[in-house]
């Protein structure tokens, strides 16, 4: 009696273990293509803007003071329901300003061009071609969208482990240390608000591209920001990259940022 009960428990334990490994095995199976990949068809709107790898060029020559970039940041904050926190430690930032020495710390020098030293630089998620954050995420809550290269987040899958924040070398990710909703000035019903305990960041306005609109920051920038397909030689960004000397943040780390700066 005693031994048969023990035997049952042992078997039950082993079976339970088997169940938990099933999804893991599935994942490997899909990777090796032994199982027919389930066709996921994402229907694009007729007006949707398409690209292989979206990229941005920031013409910093056109930026002279905070006034030039405030409307850009404000446009983003407004449509994406970014809360305003008093506590700097809990700040949510999608696109914001930094001094040159913080945006490009490895290029900082004591004898810098005065204008550049004091002018505000816009920084945001670089939507890297080889993103470290995507590699780190244990649930694929953040992933690089194959259709257009946007590094995007599923706020509902994120477990809030913040591994992506440690992985990102650009400080582009924010964590909801508390419920953001009471701190949103005016809620935009078109875009989801977030819950406490998840990470978020710039999404290159994926929701606007889907309906044929340019990102909000680009639209509000008076031509300071340009946006287009990095892999299309005819695109506006490629034209700018061809005709101007540009730099990227921490290029030496190999993440291949898709945001370029004309200095």
């Amino acid at each position: 009696m005693e031994s048969s009960r023990r035997r049952f428990l042992q078997l039950a334990g082993i079976s339970a273990l088997g169940l938990t490994t099933k999804p893991v095995l599935n994942a490997f199976a899909v990777e090796h293509g032994s199982e027919a990949p389930s066709e996921i068809v994402i229907k694009k709107g007729a007006k949707a803007l398409k690209a292989k790898q979206w990229a941005m060029v920031i013409d910093t020559r056109e930026i002279h003071s905070t006034e030039d970039i405030e409307p850009i940041i404000e446009a983003c904050n407004k449509i994406h329901n970014i809360p305003k926190f008093e506590n700097k430690n809990h700040e949510i930032k999608w696109i914001w300003e930094e001094e040159y020495k913080h945006a490009f710390p490895e290029k900082a020098t004591d004898y810098l061009n005065e204008e550049i030293e004091h002018k505000p630089f816009l920084v945001l998620c670089n939507h890297c071609e080889n993103p470290a954050c995507v590699r780190a995420c244990p649930t694929k809550a953040t992933f690089k969208r194959e259709s257009d290269g946007i590094v995007i987040m599923d706020f509902h899958r994120c477990i809030g482990c913040r591994f992506c924040m440690a992985a990102c070398p650009f400080g582009a990710r924010s964590f909801n240390f508390r419920d953001p909703r009471p701190f949103i000035e005016e809620t935009n019903k078109e875009f989801p608000t977030r819950t406490k305990g998840v990470v978020e960041k710039c999404n290159f306005c994926a929701e606007r591209l889907a309906v044929g609109e340019m990102p909000a920051c680009v639209e509000a920038s008076n031509g300071i920001l340009s946006f287009g397909d990095l892999y299309d030689p005819e695109s506006e960004v490629r034209e700018l990259l061809r005709t101007n000397y540009t730099i990227r943040r921490k290029q030496n780390l190999g993440t291949a940022p898709a945001v370029y700066y004309i200095v």
Binding site: N89, A136, P138, R162, F175, F177
Partner: protein
């Protein structure tokens, strides 16, 4: 065998009761954290991991340190350790339980924990950490329990345990290696971006784990009829002596590379920890204390005269445990975040609730350890009698 845990004296039950009280209080704090979010901790946008992850890292080390009694006994047939292997295995179980709890209390959305096995992501080190930690917990429970039960019944343990025991040895190394890989594979975090991080983690683990085991052995000898043995304690002490020396050596290797190369991204973190950076230096006195404590530990444990004196040995172990805990628990994690990749200096100091929850997790570990050690010691006493 579990019934043995229910037979205890007044002090045993008093201790259990006290632990339950602490756990209850900490659970209350955790409910507040669930309600208000991780904003009640000292963590920030810039220092996004803090005390929880630091203590997690330290305890992975303590768990891995258990292998230092398992390996000599099962692989080199060092018979003396047969008496204490169970103590190492049960210490590993309690440590892993604490590790898993620290991960859970650190999550922003703990209810979504099972997204990790539901959406398995082999490119994430955290995914592998889940596998190795749970695997190590499972191995130690199965091995520890069955070997102890066999000892109680006066028989040799089942043969099917043998392969599991052999697997558990490299597995112990894997848990701390994978935990180091969480940090050392991240671009833009110069402090962790070093191939010696995993070896450093392991060396400090093999010092801290056995040092704690020595203290536990001395305690068990004092309060029970089971004597883990003088030879066993002395052998453990030699292991601690080598491991802590190697740990400090690895650290000095790191210091040389960082300061001789003079690469700011790597150097600034060590500067922050040891001399302060841009006027911020909350950890400076801690880090120097850690260095002094580890140096004192080396002197006391390498020297045979002091090592053989069990009172001094116990003091040396305490010193090493505190020294390695500061090094790994305080410096290693926040040191990697300060300055942040944009070269802003935001310091991190844990808050009261955060420390309270941490103490609660340690209390759970102490409870698990108490119950498991009660079983082990009761069986050993039975067998002796």
């Amino acid at each position: 065998m579990l019934e043995l845990a229910f037979k205890g004296g007044k002090s045993y039950w008093g201790w259990i009761g006290a632990l339950l009280l602490v756990i209850g209080g900490a659970f209350g704090l955790y409910l507040t954290q669930i309600k208000l979010g991780l904003g009640i901790t000292g963590m920030s946008r810039d220092v996004s991991w803090g005390f929880y992850i630091a203590n997690f890292t330290y305890l992975v080390g303590v768990a891995a340190g258990g292998v230092m009694v398992v390996l000599p006994y099962y692989l080199h047939d060092y018979k003396a350790f047969g008496k204490v292997t169970i103590l190492g295995e049960f210490l590993a179980i309690a440590s892993i339980v604490m590790c898993l709890l620290f991960i859970i209390v650190d999550l922003g959305q703990p209810m979504r924990l099972f997204n990790v096995p539901l959406y398995p992501t082999p490119n994430s080190v955290l995914f592998w950490d889940m596998i190795v930690l749970n695997g190590y917990l499972f191995l130690n429970i199965v091995i520890g329990w069955n070997v102890l039960e066999a000892e109680r019944n006066g028989i040799h343990y089942q043969m099917w345990l043998k392969p599991l025991i052999y697997v558990s040895i490299p597995w112990a190394v894997s848990i701390h290696t994978v935990t180091a890989y969480l940090y050392c594979g991240l671009p833009g975090r110069g402090f962790w971006l070093t191939a010696i991080l995993a070896p450093r983690f392991l060396s400090s683990a093999f010092a801290a784990g056995p040092a704690l085991l020595i203290l536990l052995c001395l305690f068990i000898r004092r309060v029970t009829n089971f004597d883990p043995g003088r030879e066993q304690i002395q052998s453990l002490a030699k292991i601690v002596a080598y491991a802590i020396t190697i740990n400090v050596f690895f650290f000095l290797c790191e210091v040389f590379v960082v300061f001789y190369s003079q690469i700011p991204e790597h150097m600034d973190h060590l500067k922050y920890l040891f001399v302060g950076f841009h006027g911020k230096g909350a950890l400076v006195p801690w880090m120097w204390s850690s260095m002094i404590l580890m140096a004192v530990g080396i002197l006391l444990l390498v020297n045979p005269i002091t090592r053989k004196h069990e009172g001094v040995l116990a003091f040396g172990c305490v010193v090493i445990i505190i020294g390695t805990w500061i090094d790994k628990g305080l410096g290693m994690i926040s040191g990697g975040f300060v300055p942040n990749p944009m070269h802003h200096v935001t310091e991190y100091i844990p808050t009261g609730p955060e420390i309270g929850i941490t103490i609660g997790v340690y209390a759970v570990g102490a409870l698990v350890l108490t119950i498991l050690y009660k079983l082990a010691v009761s069986v050993k006493e039975e067998v002796q009698a």
